[in-house]
Amino acid sequence: MKKLLVNIQRSGDQQEVFEVEYQPGMTVLDVLERIYQKHDPSIAYRFSCRTGLCTTCMMMINGKPGLSCLKMASPDDGILHLAPLPKGETVKDLVKKM
């Protein structure tokens, strides 16, 4: 089983790296769901529709703003870097105040 390295910028300017079991067809949101269920229950991120419409799952993905439910995760692209959007107040980890 391939592994995916995910670096997440968490609250308090902490960086944390997770090694997640990769399954083909995973989106960035699926990766976060897996981290929540299997690695760290305290990870915080927002989402709703899972189809690219609500925009609540927006975050910095490899340095660029993107919708985590639309962006595919790939183990061949090196470490996946996730961070909250720079603008506005961050509630926790990847969650912005809305």
Binding site: Y36, P41, F47, G52, V91
Partner: protein, 558 residues
């Protein structure tokens, strides 16, 4: 517990909750507080809605209120409440006009006229859209703008409702938890408008957003309100079932595509030779369900969709769906897609009258959480119309009560019945040793989904429903044995725990209603009772002394 006071509390910020707020605000100067467990205006099913059915300047010369009403009643198969169908037919024209006056721009055709689309079951073309096929989003943005412009509407995101507060037989507030701080609040109000949307997340495959966990039905039940026809769940017949990341995505172009079973047979020729795939949602879901039950299903338990012959049309009308499938490795111009029914819409719900008032004074219900309008089969694009019409009615009536009736003096009710909320809060905040308990709340949610998916899907049986009831009882006992692993602020574990508690109540109501309906009608197909009975009745559920009381209520005049 800290207390917050407001005139009207609106729970849920989809099209129904926001309509309720802006209409209420026009009739009272008292404060209106809108709360949502997700981001306000971005977390409900409304976000995904494409079109809205309405009368308007675009209507065919022979189309009118009576024709609209008759279409709904015909589709409802005897279960639509005539006072509600009349309300929607009477009001929708005006409501849509108002929201366009507030800035909603309807999509236009090449001649620069409002583009109108046909929808199966509507005898005239009535569906219009906004924001290039994103009518739901357009409506939400317009209502949010309107609400922001009124300084007595406050909106509060990330706040989940645990329990409605009842005193002297009236609803006078709610207990909520602010997820950002983990602080519980008692919100005291003169009226509550509940608009929490649907139940899709009770099923493993759904078109609904993650927030659609059926909270409003459980909150209402617990408050003593009556639910009707909870077995009537609309499955969107053709949604993606693989790959997992887009499971539940609705395929809007199924009625002009072709469906095949695993043997390569275009099976709709057998079920509906005249209409084929272009039939009502209930009939198509049941046909697919029967193919699956007969073992003629694809690897993931569905059927094949072939849209290759109409692909240009698909790309033009539904680019979002086409692109999303392509992105996930399914090029519909060349490949078949695995599709099947997805839990989509709750047609049953809290019983209301034409003022959107529940059976309990000062509790109003709007949008998908209310029951009785669509009966046993909702026509496409009538859900948004329902939200605008009954959101407005709920808001106006709540404001009237606020202005005209003697206010509730919350001080005189020192001791509310807050037992359930307190039990949830105590459990959440007690230390959870990770060694002794392994199961987390999300596992409870998955278990509920699996029970409903297995036994309370499109095709139902007596044995299956009985098993579902037993399994849910067992899962209920496990809820207060789960490990809330993260006790901090913005904890998904806590959210999952509270949602699981609502999901269990609502699931049980669905199962018990399905058991009560010993016939097949509309979306409820029962293998052991495959015929529709001559007598028409509603299945009703109410909680009395902590027990679910079931009854069948005959429909008058059918």
């Amino acid at each position: 517990m800290k207390t917050i006071k407001t005139g009207i509390l609106v729970i849920g910020s989809g099209a129904a909750g926001l309509s309720a707020s802006v209409y209420a605000a026009q009739y009272t100067h008292e404060n209106i507080l809108v709360i949502d467990k997700g981001a306000v205006g971005k977390s409900g099913s409304t976000v995904g809605a494409v079109q809205i059915a309405s009368l308007g300047s675009w209507s065919h010369q022979d189309d009118h209120e009576e024709a609209f009403l008759q279409d709904i009643e015909k589709s409802g198969r005897g279960l639509s409440d005539p006072s509600l169908t009349k309300s929607i037919a009477d009001d929708i024209r005006q409501r849509l006009k108002e929201i366009t006056d507030w800035g909603l721009k309807l999509d236009k055709n090449e001649e620069q006229e409002v583009a109108v689309y046909e929808t199966s079951g509507h005898s005239f073309s009535r569906s219009v859209s906004a924001r290039k096929g994103k009518a739901g989003l357009g409506i939400l943005q317009t209502l949010i703008r309107k609400a922001n412009a009124m300084n007595h509407i406050d909106m509060w995101s990330d706040v989940i409702t645990l329990q409605l507060v009842k005193s002297a037989g009236r609803i006078i507030g709610a207990v909520v938890l602010d997820q950002r701080t983990n602080e519980p609040y008692l919100i005291q109000s003169q009226a509550v408008i509940l608009a929490t949307g649907g139940i899709g997340q009770l099923y493993p495959i759904t078109s609904n957003p993650v927030q659609s966990t059926g909270d409003g039905f459980s909150l209402s039940l617990q408050a003593g309100a009556q639910l009707i026809d909870m077995e009537q769940i609309q499955f969107y017949p053709v949604s993606m079932i693989a790959p997992q990341s887009i499971a539940g995505l609705c395929i809007s172009f199924y009625h002009f595509s072709k469906l095949y079973n695993r043997d390569g047979e275009r099976f709709m020729k057998r079920y509906q030779p005249d209409y084929l795939e272009n039939t009502t949602r209930d009939q198509l879901s049941i046909a697919i369900g029967k193919e699956v039950a007969a073992g003629r299903e694809t690897d993931h338990g569905g059927v094949w969709l072939d849209a290759s012959e109409v692909i240009e049309n698909v790309k033009r009308q539904f680019p979002h769906e086409y692109d999303l499938c392509k992105d996930r490795g399914i090029d519909l111009s060349k490949q078949h897609a695995e599709v099947g029914p997805a839990a989509h819409f709750m047609m049953g719900g809290v019983k209301i009258n034409s003022n959107a008032s529940s059976s309990i004074p000062r509790l109003f219900i709007a949008g998908e959480t209310s029951g009785g309008l669509h009966g046993a089969n909702r026509l496409g694009n009538n859900a948004l119309s329902e939200c605008l019409v009954f959101g407005a009615r709920a808001g106006i009536e709540a404001a009237r009560i606020l202005e005209e009736e003697t206010p509730v003096d919350h001080q005189s009710f020192a001791d509310y019945e807050l037992g359930w909320a307190k039990r949830l809060l105590t459990y959440i905040h007690q230390p959870h040793s990770s060694k002794s308990i392994k199961r987390r709340p999300y596992v409870i949610k998955e278990k509920i989904q699996s029970v409903l998916g297995n036994y309370v899907g499109v095709i139902r049986t007596k044995d299956g429903l009985c098993k579902a009831q037993q399994d849910l009882k067992e899962i209920q006992e496990q809820l207060f044995e789960t490990r809330v692993a993260n006790p901090d602020a913005y904890s998904r574990d806590i959210l999952d725990f509270i949602e699981a508690s609502h999901m269990l109540q609502t699931s049980l109501a669905i199962v018990r209603s399905a058991q009560m309906r010993t016939e097949s009608r509309g979306a409820h197909y029962h293998v052991d009772y495959p015929e529709q009975e001559i007598d028409t009745y509603h299945t009703c559920i109410q909680v009395e002394n902590e027990n679910m009381k079931l009854s069948k209520k005959p429909v008058k005049g059918v």
